[in-house]
């Protein structure tokens, strides 16, 4: 048996009593509302009277009010030590009261009696009186019950056990603990500390953080990387703390972790994404079986509010970036307008309603794998309304025309986009058996423009500079230019309700190695 923890507990006179440092000691844990504990109070008194002058005898009670009540009822000559914080009971691994422990040198547990088994207690009394050469406790043993099971220790009760486990030595959490005074409101405190994105946060108490960590099998101290701009070390524990604040359930944690890992890559370039005046933000798409398991929304209102998983996973990622990375608006986050996606933007793909390969399969993962993909987008979802087209080429044409506006109608070869095709539009496209490739090609075809139309003019100085155009020959000016540098820069997923012919487009930021490249990560459950 493990050694008993060292402790300092107050007795009823307010004196601090240290754990025994003796060859032998008797320590008994009790609580007032336990009938068995009350039955053994006279036994404890008899033990104390006989052995208390030879070896330390400590009686530890689990509530201060209960200790007082026991003292009043039984008037013992011992003073009950106050473990109302339950930390000693928890550390001593007490599951039942009464538990009587006989320690040996070094606080090892020579024996441990759980509940009341008369035979065992009597044997202990006999053994000690022989060893200590004192009279046996004066007890009417036959009058005592043979056996009483005892009661559950408060230290393993559902109300206290999670907190105690989180606070105990050996707890996997290591972050700095911040005590908030009784008179302070914890939500206001977190606002004042700058932890918030502007909305109230769930206080990340040790027990909540520990519960959050149970959502992943990974070591709490595993380092995922360094988050720009402050290059703060991102551990799984830090992600869990921010996930608690965001309102996540523990089962969302693996998704948050994978998304944070994606964001930490050089390809993703979170430093630039946060610092840019363009107001870029992560847009997170979840694929695979975990979508269903954690109840993500991929149907009606998938890109909107109302689903806890969608809302809080995206928010948790943003809070990690803010709190661990230090990207705060007005500091290194310099967005001119900002955008609401900076609170959260995360949704799942409706793979079952998708006639094509889902996003993660297209990006090289197996269908049964759960995967998170993080894009960088500056705006969206911008609706492209088409309730009239009945053929795939017409509808894809409308989508192409809509996407021409990405970053500006004359911004060609400039960025990427994420097109969220709604089910009714999917049906129209599938009437003509359109593949994703067909859709991309048609979008490029319809949005392509001759170079001369993209030159700066009196209507707009954006596009190709006049000086550059002047050096071009007629053939070059007549050449058709596609909106997107590559067809793959049109990312396509399916989501949304069965009713409504409005697909949505997210507009990209600077793409490729000079900006941000979408990153997918397998979700480790």
């Amino acid at each position: 048996m493990a050694t008993l923890p060292a402790y300092r507990l107050e007795n009823s006179n307010g004196e601090e009593i240290a754990s025994p440092d003796a060859e032998q000691a008797l320590i008994c844990f009790i609580k007032e509302d336990c009938p068995t504990c009350k039955e053994v109070m006279p036994v404890l008194e008899a033990f104390f009277v006989r052995f208390g002058s030879t070896i330390p005898v400590h009686i530890i009670g689990q509530t201060s009010q209960g200790n007082t009540a026991l003292a009043q009822q039984f008037n013992p000559t011992f003073s009950i030590l106050d473990d109302s914080a339950l930390q000693v009971s928890f550390a001593a691994d007490i599951e039942t009261v009464p538990t009587m422990v006989l320690t040996d040198a070094g606080n090892g547990q020579a024996s441990r009696l759980v509940g009341f088994v008369k035979e065992e207690w009597q044997a202990l009394a006999t053994k000690l009186s022989v060893q200590l050469d004192v009279e046996a406790p004066q007890l009417d043993w036959p009058a005592l019950p043979d056996w009483r099971p005892g009661c559950g220790s408060l230290s393993v009760g559902p109300a206290d056990e999670p907190r105690l486990r989180a606070m105990a030595e050996g707890s996997p959490i290591r972050a700095r603990r911040i005590d908030i005074g009784r008179q302070d409101d914890e939500v206001e405190f977190m606002f004042d500390q700058g932890f918030s994105d502007g909305l109230p946060l769930v206080p990340p108490t040790p027990e909540r953080v520990l519960a959050m960590l149970s959502g992943s099998k990974r070591d709490a101290q595993e380092v995922l990387g360094e988050m720009a701009p402050n290059m703060g070390e991102v551990t799984i524990e830090k992600v869990a703390i921010n996930a608690v604040m965001a309102g996540c359930k523990p089962e969302y944690l693996p998704v948050v972790l994978a998304a944070v890992e994606a964001v930490l890559t050089d390809d993703y370039n979170i430093h630039g994404v946060m610092a840019t005046t363009m107001g870029a933000s992560p847009v997170i798409v979840v694929n695979g079986p975990i979508r269903q398991r954690i109840g993500m929304n991929m149907g009606l209102g998938a890109l909107g509010q109302g689903n806890r998983a969608n809302a809080t996973i995206g928010r948790a990622v943003r809070l990690v970036i803010r709190n661990v990375g230090g990207a705060r608006p007005g500091e290194t986050e310099r967005s001119t307008l900002g955008n609401p996606m900076k609170f959260t933007m995360c949704f799942a793909e409706w793979e079952e309603r998708n006639p094509w390969s889902p996003l993660h399969v297209e990006r090289g993962f197996a269908e049964e794998e759960s995967v998170v993909t993080v894009f960088t987008m500056v705006s969206g979802p911008t609706l492209i309304v088409d309730q009239d087209s009945r053929s795939a080429s017409q509808l894809a044409g409308t989508l192409g025309q809509g996407l021409q506006a990405v970053m500006g109608p004359k911004a060609y070869f400039a960025t990427d986009c994420l097109l969220v095709v709604v089910p009714e539009h999917v049906d129209t496209l599938m009437r003509d058996n359109y593949s994703k490739e067909d859709l991309r090609r048609r979008i490029q075809e319809v949005s392509a423009r001759p170079v001369r139309e993209l030159v700066a003019d009196e209507n707009s100085a954006t596009g190709i500079k006049a000086a550059t155009a002047e050096k071009m020959d007629e053939a070059s000016l007549d050449q058709m230019m596609t909106k997107f540098r590559r067809d793959e820069d049109i990312h396509i997923v399916v989501a949304g309700s069965e009713a409504g012919k409005f697909s949505g487009a997210f507009h990209g930021w600077v793409t490729g190695s000079v900006g941000s490249i979408p990153v997918s990560r397998k979700i480790e459950e």
Binding site: I178, P203, G232, E237, A275, N323
Partner: protein, 92 residues
């Protein structure tokens, strides 16, 4: 009393002193382009002006691979070792 866990990286950055500013520009000057559009236009003009006004000064051009990421450590080291001053053209 409620106890919460610190969600930040828990670091307290040290305060650093600015390098003393010399009264005159001498020696070697780095002209750093962060690779945003038209940064080079500004630096071209500056280089021309500085070459005329400070003929004894050595001007060296540098460029970040992309404006959207911090300068690579090797580039920062090179600029630091080989120059006494840096002029950085930021953007647009």
């Amino acid at each position: 009393m409620t106890t919460i866990m610190d969600p930040t990286d828990e670091r307290v950055p040290v305060t650093r002193q600015l390098t003393p500013r010399p009264s005159a520009v001498t020696g070697r000057v780095a002209l750093l382009d962060i690779s945003k559009p038209r940064g080079s236009v500004l630096l071209d003009q500056l280089e021309e002006v500085l070459a005329k006004q400070l003929p004894g000064v050595t001007l060296t051009r540098y460029a970040k691979p992309t404006f959207s990421k911090p300068a690579p450590a090797a580039l920062r080291d090179e600029i630091h070792q080989d120059n006494d001053f840096v002029i950085e053209a930021l953007a647009d």
